[in-house]
């Protein structure tokens, strides 16, 4: 398999230098792939995909009524991160998650940050993720966001930015573990030779957190993962995590609240549940508090939660920090609570509630990415450079109608990774979603989901929009170089 005609196309390539030579720190991988006989790589790729189907690692697509499940397209060429760049990422993510937790806790208590006018109160109170009913609550250990998936992107100059913070119910970690399992079978020697850090500790650490945050009256905490059910697009992940952690996978109808305690219906009667890792949104959690039509939730669970008889993970109300307008303030939030400058910068962002910034967005629609403040999955976005005049007109109308709900961002030229397309390698744009756990301490999983936009030229990596995934290899040590090789240093390390 050859990279002979591989073209980085003027983008930052994660595996190759602009002159077409492999990045020296990763050359082992390139050597190995090059040494494979023609056709062998494609065969391995097909075998990996078949394996995904047979083990049922699939997802359902919303709005697709055929009921067919698909596999998340998977590409065998991993994305590599050097140990020193990862240390920097880790530092940035830890800082960010600590600051965001302090922010959420402040918002639901004294709102000092609003009174000090660092963020306009309107922005926070009008956020869809803000929950009046969470005012004054104190989740165990003071942690609101136990599991966070933060999306990072790299621009053409090599700079890494935070694209968005996912603090509600971020998904994808099961693919991180599964992708690694596949690559362990495919490139065992390269993994060992490069000294790639393991990712298998994730379920154990998550379980420990669920234990640690159980209500004070739990002697042996009973843990559960709450899923909307097997038709949910992330059902595989819910079931996978429950399985890996050895905890119960429950649906809303399996649970009931009595005396402000949550119980599971079992074959031997009712059994108390202490910590629920819920994979359904705040809106659906308790039909008595929000959507009365929700069949997914548990009537009365919010009251049990308020009384500290059950712990919900992530805590209800965490979504206030998941708002894309709040995102724009994260550097200020970090400064306010920690007195530090943000390690990883934000993508330059314009907030459409502000007249001056909105005008800038409206005038530059063709060059910007416009996103609604509270959507996920890549829905409802405008990618300026790839848009039609009609698209832009539509967004102009929406932004004028509801400025609060939109932000504009500079369009970045996302970095690329070689990806198998029609039997040869072509560059495809990627982002990176590392996962951060927060209980007694912060843990950043050394790896993450590299999402890849499989359509040529596309910048949208979401699985619902034709995206696929790659394994992410974080190296444990700086590589040993042979004489004459030099390392490119990342700009911020």
């Amino acid at each position: 398999m050859t990279f002979a005609n591989y073209d980085t196309g003027g983008f930052y390539d994660e595996l190759f230098l602009a002159d077409g030579s492999p990045r020296p720190e990763f050359h082992q991988l390139v050597d190995r792939i090059t040494s494979l006989p023609a056709g062998d790589f494609a065969r391995r790729q097909r075998a990996a995909e078949r394996n995904l189907v047979h083990t049922g690692i699939t997802f359902n697509v919303y709005g697709d009524d055929s009921g067919e499940e698909r596999i998340l397209p998977f590409d065998l060429v991993p994305r590599l991160v050097t140990s020193e760049e990862w240390r920097w990422i880790e530092r940035g993510l830890e800082q960010r998650i600590r600051a965001l937790n302090l922010f959420i806790d402040d918002i639901y208590h004294d709102q000092k940050i609003l009174r000090d006018r660092v963020i306009p109160g309107d922005v926070v109170r009008s956020s869809q993720g803000f929950r009046e009913e969470c005012m004054g609550l104190n989740p165990p250990l003071g942690v609101w966001s136990h599991i966070t998936g933060t999306d990072l992107v790299r621009d053409s100059d090599g700079q890494i930015y935070v694209l968005e913070d996912n603090l509600r119910v971020p998904s994808g970690v099961s693919y991180v573990l599964q992708n690694r399992a596949v690559l362990k079978r495919t490139f065992p020697n390269v993994l060992r030779g490069l000294g790639v850090r393991g990712v298998n500790g994730y379920p154990g650490r998550l379980r420990a957190i669920l234990d640690d945050v159980a209500p004070p009256d739990a002697r042996r905490a009973k843990l559960a993962v709450l899923t909307p059910g097997r038709y949910n697009s992330a059902y595989f992940e819910h079931s996978f995590l429950a399985h890996q952690m050895g905890v119960e996978l429950v649906e809303g109808s399996d649970l009931a609240v009595e005396d402000d305690q949550v119980f599971m219906r079992t074959t031997a009667g009712l059994r108390r549940v202490h910590t629920i890792y819920r994979r359904i949104d705040d809106d659906y959690l308790d039909p008595r508090v929000s959507r009365p039509d929700s069949l997914l939730g548990i009537p009365g669970v919010m009251e049990a939660y308020r009384r500290n008889r059950v712990t919900l993970v992530n805590a209800p109300g965490t979504g206030v920090a998941d708002d894309k307008v709040v995102y724009a303030y994260v550097p200020k939030i970090i400064k306010y609570y920690l007195g530090e400058d943000a390690v990883i910068p934000n993508v330059p962002t314009y907030m459409c509630w502000d007249d001056r910034q909105r005008d800038h967005v409206l005038e530059n629609l063709k060059d910007l990415v416009v996103k609604p403040a509270n959507e996920s999955g890549g829905y409802g976005m405008l990618i300026g450079p790839h848009s039609t005049a009609a698209d832009r007109e539509e967004f102009r109308r929406r932004i004028r109608e509801n400025g609060r709900n939109y932000i504009g961002q500079t369009t970045l030229s996302l970095s690329r990774v070689p990806t198998m397309v029609d039997g040869r390698f072509e560059g495809r744009h990627v982002d990176l979603r590392p996962f951060i756990l927060y209980g007694r301490d912060v843990f950043v999983l050394p790896g993450g989901l590299t999402r890849v936009a499989l359509r040529k030229g596309s910048l949208v990596v979401n699985s619902s929009q034709g995206g696929g995934s790659k394994d992410t290899w974080v190296l444990a040590q700086p590589p040993k170089l042979t004489d004459g090789q030099t390392l490119q240093r990342c700009p911020d390390c």
Binding site: T55, V225, F240, V247, Q261, T266, T267, G269
Partner: protein, 325 residues
């Protein structure tokens, strides 16, 4: 364990077993039709009778011939008990309780369904190979269940589901004789009759075991073997006895006593079969006996649902919180 999980595991096993038995029915009928003397018309209708889906069949097809019956029983998505539908239902149940299963059990169920689905969408295998593969994949699921799932509550519910389904299907296949129109006791009919009973034994893989025990194939001994034999793993009595053991393992109730409707009904049925002589069954009419057996088996299924799968909160009573796992 969760009531919903128990129920799904129970149905997962039932549906896999159902697919296996439907495959057995079709296979044996296929053979039987080839063995019949040329002057006898082939009979496919009885096959649908056994599965109890005659009404559904007539809504979809006008005549019962090889093509319509095989189609109905193998790949027809409109027949909820076709092999494909049963495997799909098994897989959906398995999918909803994946964390409670071992990866191997899940993979076997998933593979079985994907295989049937692949064959239904223009597979290349012969009918015979397909049916054999379905039977093998059911064995694969059972093997994986026995070898990789802890023999705790999950396993017992899976076993109960499988055994109740098997008992039901063995009883039904014994009844095929009733639906098949054969020339009575005429000399020529005699050998055709033998063919039938041999086919019945074959369909539940019982012929070899039967011969060890009884030698010649005789109607009465065949009925006895399939209904009352203590050791043959597909006989109704053996299935129900083992299901009863699992039921008691789940609840901890001593054998021979009961604490809930499921234990009472199943226990009574097991005792009844233990003290039944084949002579009186034949005398009172095998078909009538089997009919009644079906009703009782359905009763056991309902009692299971009531006792384990649908426990409700009783208002006013504090939930029992002392259970520790």
């Amino acid at each position: 364990m969760l009531s919903r999980v128990a129920e799904s595991i129970y149905w997962m096993s039932r549906y896999v077993e159902r697919a296996e038995n439907v495959a057995r029915f079709v296979e044996v009928n296929e053979h039987l039709m080839l063995d019949l003397p040329p002057e006898m018309p082939p009979q496919w209708g009885p096959l649908v009778e056994i599965t109890g889906d005659m009404a559904a069949f007539h809504r979809l097809y006008s005549t019962a011939d090889q093509q319509s019956v095989c189609g109905f029983l193998t790949f027809d998505p409109n027949n909820p008990n076709s092999i494909l539908s049963a495997l799909r239902a098994a897989r959906e149940n398995a999918r909803s309780v994946r964390p409670s299963l071992s990866s191997e059990v899940w993979a076997e169920v998933n593979r079985a369904y994907l295989y049937a689905k692949g064959q239904s969408a223009g597979g290349t295998e012969s009918l015979y190979d397909f049916l054999r593969a379905v039977i093998r994949s059911s064995h694969g699921v059972e093997g994986a269940t026995n070898a990789t799932l802890s023999h705790s509550e999950e396993w017992h519910f899976s076993r109960i589901g499988r055994l109740l389904e098997r008992a039901d299907k063995t009883a039904r296949i014994l009844d095929i004789r009733y639906f098949t129109l054969l020339p009575g006791r005429e000399p020529v009919g005699r050998s055709v009759d033998d063919l039938h009973w041999t086919a019945v034994l074959q369909s539940v893989s019982a012929l070899e075991m039967y011969r060890h025990r009884h030698g010649m194939v005789r109607p009465e001994a065949t009925a006895e073997f399939l209904l009352l034999n203590r050791h043959f793993p597909r006989s109704v009595r053996n299935c129900l006895k083992r299901a009863d053991e699992s039921l008691h393992a789940i609840t901890g109730t001593p054998e021979g006593s009961f604490r809930n409707p499921a234990e009472r009904r199943l226990g009574r049925l097991v005792a009844e079969l233990a003290y039944t002589a084949i002579g009186e069954v034949i005398e009172d009419g095998l078909h009538e006996f089997l009919d009644e057996l079906q009703v009782k088996l359905n009763g056991v299924g309902e009692a299971l649902h009531q006792s384990f799968f649908a426990p409700r909160f009783t208002s006013g009573r504090r939930p029992d919180t002392t259970l520790e796992e």
